[in-house]
Symmetry: C2
DNA sequence: CAGTGGTCTAGACCACGGA
DNA sequence: CCGTGGTCTAGACCACTGG
């Protein structure tokens, strides 16, 4: 039944032993998970396909629904399948690959650096409609950011917090931090102002950016990020911290949170 | 008992309603998970601390052990707590931060690029003992790598696959791919050979690297990586793909898999 | 409205690691 | 040894969604 999977009986009723020791080799739910994972990887269950219902799987493998759920939960946490939505069931998750590619380019002679925040540019080039929610506030720096910006932890920072969307669906989160003392009485504080980039503005104030430091890490999203960016179970985020320096000091900190099923980072560099 | 947590009764016996509709607002296991998550974040449960036992939590919240397990499972999948090991119980996971920092530096005038694979250097600087298992083989390129190296998918590649360790514990996985036709009859094929870097060797063969393209993405590890690198539940990996170019063509592909609880990437770049 | 997955219970046995 | 978490069962009711 279920046609496939002729290999071996997944559970030979009773494993020779009279009755005891149920799972000496590998727990049943992992056997089920391994089986489904293999079927997904060899494209027998292609992206977008329906995963068999929990009831069917329980019948197929001769175990309870809870055991099947443990297997499916493992696969969901690996990002391979979606959570179920009632009658729609679960589906094999599509690897939509990178919707957006951050990029740093540098021409050989010129030492010129493009990006990374040509978000609107790249979106338009892909024929997608970019939008964003902006929110500006003033906060205390805190130990993390204070270290990077080389200021006291209680100094005030202007935060520009943006949730960006492509065609209405959340793309990523981007926060920029500026020491208040550097930018007070400028448009940076105006949330309605569409500043294409704050960098030239800082340059005009005498804080021209001459170098960057990028830190890149990965982790599971917290519940707030899950809600804000509509992140599925088992999908990690990439966190990208860019500290911008003038000749004298750090002047800018950008924090980007990218759901890893929609984004990748890209750097192009001379050797 | 349990001492802490005087805030509110987490579950007022029966929520006013006579009996029905169990979880209209939020499922119990999420309430429990949120509570524990908050206690971890405010350091009431600091890194390394014992998480209360499942039985205790069930008693505290007045629910079954299975419900508690759903909450703990969610926290484990967020990378916040460890899985339990029998009598040792579960602990709040330590954020050991980056053990190793990959780095790309470039001096302003010179356009010189250091790293990223001064792994041994950086390890020694940190007083850690680096070791590695090397395995060399020859494989067909496959569509993914063929595209990046601009060769037919059936062309042969030499693979140098390294699992690297710090003080005996797995650090990360690093694979380098070279078109066989570029490197045949060289030491690259010798697994015992400690080639500090293959780059100068390629340069001597007329394939001097002049630029890189780095692609960085994140995902959950597959079971093989979990075993090889001893990755905990809920810890994503960073995958780093570097394509090295000579003046004419791609000559080298490096794939690095980094458990995100031990690593971060870092770039230092001119503006 | 029928059937899916989500939530939850109250049990059970087992492997394993500290005391 | 004893208690932990890991595995598993056989039920139950509910919310949501597609036909």
């Amino acid at each position: 039944m279920a046609a496939v999977n002729g290999e071996q009986p997944q559970r030979p009723d009773q494993p020779a032993r009279s009755e005891p020791s149920p799972y000496h080799d590998q727990p049943q739910y992992q056997v089920i998970a391994n089986d489904l994972r293999a079927r997904i990887q060899r494209r027998e269950l292609p992206p977008g396909a329906q995963v068999p219902t929990e009831k069917d799987l329980a019948a197929t493998y001769g175990c309870s629904r809870n055991t099947v759920r443990m297997a499916l939960s493992a696969l969901a946490n690996e990002g391979l399948i979606s959570a179920g939505r009632a009658r729609a069931g679960r589906t094999v998750r599509r690897r939509e690959q990178f919707v957006l590619t951050h990029r740093v380019e540098e021409e050989l002679g010129a030492t010129r650096l493009r990006g990374p925040d040509s978000f609107a540019d790249q979106a338009h080039r892909l024929g997608r409609a970019p939008t964003q929610d902006i929110e500006v506030s003033i906060v205390a720096a805190g130990p993390e950011y204070a270290t990077r910006l080389e200021i006291p932890a209680d100094e005030r920072l202007v935060v520009r917090r943006r949730v960006r969307y492509l065609d209405g669906t959340p793309s990523h989160l981007s926060e920029s931090y500026y020491p208040l003392m550097l930018v007070k009485d400028t448009q940076v504080l105006d949330p309605t102002e569409i500043v294409p980039s704050v960098v030239p503005l800082l340059a005009a104030l005498g804080h021209r950016q001459v170098r960057y430091t990028d830190e890149i890490l990965s982790r599971m999203p917290d519940p707030a990020e899950v809600r804000l960016l509509e992140i599925g179970v088992g999908v990690p985020v990439i966190e990208h911290l860019r500290t911008g320096w003038s000749a004298e000091r750090p002047v800018r900190l950008t924090r980007t949170v990218l759901p890893s099923d929609r984004h990748q980072l890209r750097y192009e560099l001379p050797s």
